[in-house]
Subunit: 692 residues, 2 copies
């Protein structure tokens, strides 16, 4: 079986390379467009270079700690290597995705100048390049390690002990991916919003010039931000969820006594998902009508098609590998698959201008900025209800289908399988997410090069659609992160058992309760740090931009060009600096709590931050998305249209929503996953040295 | 012992009556002041009359359900009566507190026109009337029930069985108090903020007239709101925490096998607290210097003095009742006592203009409303760290002192005792809280009757101090609510054991996990409903006020008076209507989850909403308090002072903070307590009919 999985990962990478080549063949537009695109690419690469340096320091420090722990026998020799490869492939996924995004933006713009479908295809293909790199590299890395450990490193062990040793070693591989994801998501998130907020405060609010106006010195930094935050950050995040859910489920299979078969199911399911997703991409095409819902349907067809294929064929995977007795596992897969789609639909309802919630925010903008903000917060909080019910139902149903109370370990394996099921369509869902920033960039390029209004209308339609897919993508990311983190916590509990430590899992154990409180608080502290980081970095942008307006005469009249590069540089440095407290928090909190308060408190902490982090993340993503689209709804001519009082109020709402939806909210996914995986890796160390 | 406790409750009520009489003897000021005070009193009573009607309908419905459950043997015959008396005394506490507050406002104003100390004494005494009514009536009710059940109803049972039966019956008494508290806190909270936000939007923002200007048609409603929300609501809330913590601890004493002695300790501690608090009130007096920190120290002396007395004398209570072997219980009491004070100090740091956090919000107001809001949210989130650490430490320490892992039940009893310890100073801490709205009202009356500037300065100083004490009071309320709710959840688990139902307390049980997610979400849903309620009710105020400005000529010039009563009436109706979904949510959620998902899910739900509700409540209270004082800091002449751009931005922050700190935030205390107590009352019904 493993060879087919390996093959599927190669097919995925091959498909990504093929799409990449076909995008690069497209016309890049006129000289002005090429120039802007090059500036964006340069800025994005400058950011990544600096980020890689930070990551390198971080990795050196962590490797030193890991090697020390290996030396003292708290970890196996494979851990430091697994950590490195996890980090490397996660970086690579983000980089490759961002690289093609910065090359596809001008091509999408040029394509849109010829036809809407052409623009859509290029932007979507660019997203697909990242999507298939992510799943391909993820699966490649997992299978390579599996083969190495199974046939070489641990080949002398009997099957049960071997599976045990393999999955234990591989869990730490997720920590590398998670750490990189943290840097990419948080650093990228701070970058993109500091540049965006800074550009808006100076451009739209102070100078009254439109978005993406080339007179704004922060405009290139803003366009760069879309790529480093929404593309590279999203890619690294979901790479991590993807491998995390698969590895955790493999570990849970061993605990459930399913042996090699149970270990193979998530791998086979992932492989099937890749093929289904590739087929799905061919279903995406549009006519010439720039109607949002038609375009959305075009994209949806791809996702639904892939999901349908998986829903049918995964039946055969389960039956052929585990036998008809474990048919419940198949239903657990379906639960995850359906849950992911439902969370997306709920997100769409709360965040698009088509429905009542967003329109009511737009309506409240007529009264004052305060009412816009209060109604956005209220709607955002309300929007957490369905995702929570969906995830809760997914947990209970997948557990009940797979094993139920009579067979706890099987049930928990079912929860892991549901997570893998949800993420099995990742190849194509990620294509949809990563499509957004490319369309956004294309719109910016069109705006800056003053193209004709038909083209602009087309890119506007593509961009608006991108907002919706980005919001549903975030819902999907956090939903899958929740299930993945839960599987990881279960794997952690398993690790503790394996270490021979007796622990209480009772929620009334005061260590657990205290951990629960602290865990529930951490997403708030983390969000606080992230929001503060954006504000501080944005201030630096504002000061520099104001300074340029003052010093460089003739910017406003178009006589001279602002120095875009200086701002790109400033945000890059600021984002790296501001990220440090967030990163330290995620890594130190579970270790410190473990050492001071014991393993029970760690479990409480993980569950508390999982539950509260999930709710806060959904709240922030949806409130932010809804404010954004409420502003767009007013710009479309409702409640007074552009430049009305209502619009001004809505712009303030949107500005507040920016760090909510693009920095703090999505970073919480990483927080909850990374804390779980750090706990796993440091489990034996904490068990040895905990005070309690 | 019980007779001393009974005596202490009578002393408390007697002291409250004595203070009331001495306040009523004070001069009420000139005719204009009397007229305004009468209008406020009339409005407040109109609100309460309508609220009592709503409560009456609600009680009839719940009584019908309870009687049905008694008929089918799911409850004992005492439950419906206990429910009624709990509700009645809670109502009475709120009413008596509000009644004196509306009589003390003009007297405080008149007192302040003679000396600062005189103003302070009257306002503080008014708060103390409520404080001592609350603790006196609470303890009276508990002892009366205890005596009745112990010596009459269950006198035939042996001691162990009797204590068991008594505490079970009495737990339901808390449900009556909780339900009234819900109506008072939520209804009052919606009222006060709808009136405040509405008055500000029309007055300060649209018409540019100062706060408390008599030309504003919403001004009386605004002043009424301080009384019905911050006085009556706070009183009912803390009445409920007070009796809830005592009753829950009594129940936990039985579970811990401490028998009558263990049951007596919380009662004796409460009695001691009353005496200590009375002594504390005599320590409160000020000189003529209107310096905030001097005034604050004057109030602090009272609280710290009372705490010191309790810290010393509770040692003898523990040793004489339980013996030297249980000295750990004494340290658990200290833990709660110190924890309460520390939470207050942390709140003060984050919400007063004296320290960096609030000043940084004021500073960010220079840039735009968006930055004020982002920095307020960031500071508010950051401010959750210390209270969470304090509560977590209190939980672990009081558990460890009282029993530790070797003796779980004793340890959990220790947590309950810590809650009672924290609340033992309630007589005086509540005096400080309830002082605020009286000072606020006095300031409004001075403003509306155009007194000289010395008097106005004095009431401003009293009012500013009131903001601080209100914020620390909220911190104290939520901290004690968290410990009380935790004790209630422990009591719930005990109830389930008594019913002979086998349950899993494992946090990895998927029902528990799913419950945890839903529980973590409920505070968000509840806050969403509360915020929406305020917005909608405030809109009604705005429309009516605008209408009056248009229809009644000469309001702005002072020629004619607006119709204050109409707005009082509109807000009253709106608050009652908007409260319904919040109330239903708190009561239906735990029952519905229990029936559909089982007892394990209820425990998960209670713990999830406890942890997340605590964090959200602290976040909202502190963000709101900080925005309020950031605005005041600017008004004091910083960053451009009144009417600057920064001030306008800060007013928007304050408007958003209003429903955070005075509606949604404090209502969450009730949500978490009420859900626990509803679960306890309906435990046997749910055990019988749960699907899972």
């Amino acid at each position: 079986m493993i060879e087919y999985v390996f093959l599927a990962s190669l097919v995925s990478i091959g498909f990504a390379l093929y799409l990449r080549r076909s995008i690069l063949k497209q016309d890049e537009g006129n000289e002005a467009m090429k120039r802007i695109s090059a500036a964006i690419r340069e800025g994005a690469e400058a950011f990544l270079r600096r980020q890689y340096r930070t990551v390198a320091y971080f990795f050196i420090a962590v490797e030193a700690i890991l090697i020390t722990l290996v030396y003292f026998r708290y970890l196996t020799i494979f851990v430091p290597f697994a950590f490195l490869t996890g980090g490397f492939f996660s970086l690579l996924s983000g980089y490759l995705g961002m690289n093609i995004a910065t090359r596809a933006n001008a091509r999408t713009a040029a394509g849109a100048s010829r036809s809407l479908n052409r623009g859509l295809r290029i932007a979507f293909s660019s997203g697909a390049v990242m999507g298939f790199f992510v799943v391909g590299l993820g699966l490649l890395d997992i299978t390579a390690w599996f083969v190495f450990l199974n046939y070489f490193a641990f080949s002398s062990l009997d099957i049960a002990a071997r599976m045990q040793a393999i999955t234990s070693a591989m869990l730490t591989f997720g920590m590398g991916a998670s750490s990189v994801a943290l840097f990419a998501r948080v650093g990228g998130g701070i970058y993109t919003k500091a540049a965006d907020v800074g550009a808006d405060l100076v451009g739209k609010i102070e100078k009254g010039i439109p978005e993406d106006d080339e007179r704004n010195p922060a405009v290139i930094a803003d366009l760069v931000g879309d790529n480093v935050g929404d593309v590279a950050g999203m890619g690294a995040d979901l790479y991590e969820s993807y491998v995390g859910s698969i590895i955790a489920t493999m570990a849970l299979a061993v605990a459930a006594g399913l042996g090699l078969g149970g270990v193979t199911v998530p791998l086979a399911l992932a492989a099937l998902g890749i093929i289904a997703s590739i087929i799905g991409t061919f279903l995406v095409r549009s006519g010439e009508e720039a109607d949002q819902s038609v375009l959305l349907m075009a994209l949806r067809k791809g996702v639904f098609g892939a999901a349908a294929i998986i829903a049918v064929l995964s039946y055969f995977i389960v039956v052929s590998i585990l036998g008809r007795a474990h048919i419940g596992i198949y239903f657990a897969i379906l639960t995850g698959l359906v849950g992911g789609i439902l969370i997306g639909l709920s997100t769409e309802y709360f965040t698009t201008g088509k429905y009542r919630p967003t329109r009511s925010i737009a309506e409240s903008a007529q009264a004052s900025p305060a009412t816009v903000i209060l109604s956005g917060i209220s709607i955002g909080m309300m929007s957490t209800v369905f995702p929570v019910i969906i995830v809760s139902a997914s947990i209970m149903l997948s557990f009940a289908f797979a094993g139920g109370l009579g067979s706890l370990q099987l049930g928990i394996y079912g929860i892991g399988v549901a997570a893998v099921g949800m993420l099995s369509t990742l190849g194509i869902t990620l294509s949809m997410d990563a499509y957004g920033p490319v369309a956004d960039n294309a719109g910016g390029i069109i705006e800056m090069t003053g193209q004709n209004s038909t083209t602009r209308k087309r890119t506007d339609a593509l961009d608006a659609l991108g907002n919706t897919t980005a919001a549903t993508g975030k819902g999907f990311a956090i939903g899958s992160a929740a299930l993945t983190a839960l599987a990881l916590v279960a794997a952690y509990v398993e690790q503790i058992h394996l270490l021979g430590k007796e622990i209480s899992l009772s929620i009334m154990d005061p260590r657990m309760t205290a951990g629960l409180f602290i865990g529930a608080m951490l997403p708030f502290l983390f969000s606080s740090l992230a929001i503060r980081a954006v504000s501080r970095a944005a201030f630096k942008v504002v000061f520099e931009a104001r300074d340029q307006f003052r010093r460089i005469k003739g910017i406003m009249k178009g006589g001279s060009k602002p120095k875009y590069g200086r701002i790109v540089d400033i945000v890059t440095k600021a984002a790296q600096l501001e990220m440090i407290p967030c990163a330290l928090l995620a890594i130190i909190a579970p270790i410190a709590v473990g050492l001071i308060m014991g393993v029970e408190a760690v479990i409480g902490l993980l569950m508390g931050s999982l539950a509260s982090g999930f709710v806060v993340a959904v709240f922030m993503a949806n409130a932010g998305g809804s404010w954004d689209n409420a502003k767009k709804w007013i710009e479309d001519g409702h409640f007074g249209g552009k430049l009305s009082q209502a619009h001004k109020a809505a712009v303030i709402g949107d500005t507040i929503g920016d760090p909510f939806k693009d920095t703090a909210g999505p970073s919480l996914n990483i927080l909850i996953k990374l804390m779980s995986i750090v706990s796993i890796v440091f489990a034996s160390f904490i068990v040895a040295y905990a005070l309690v």
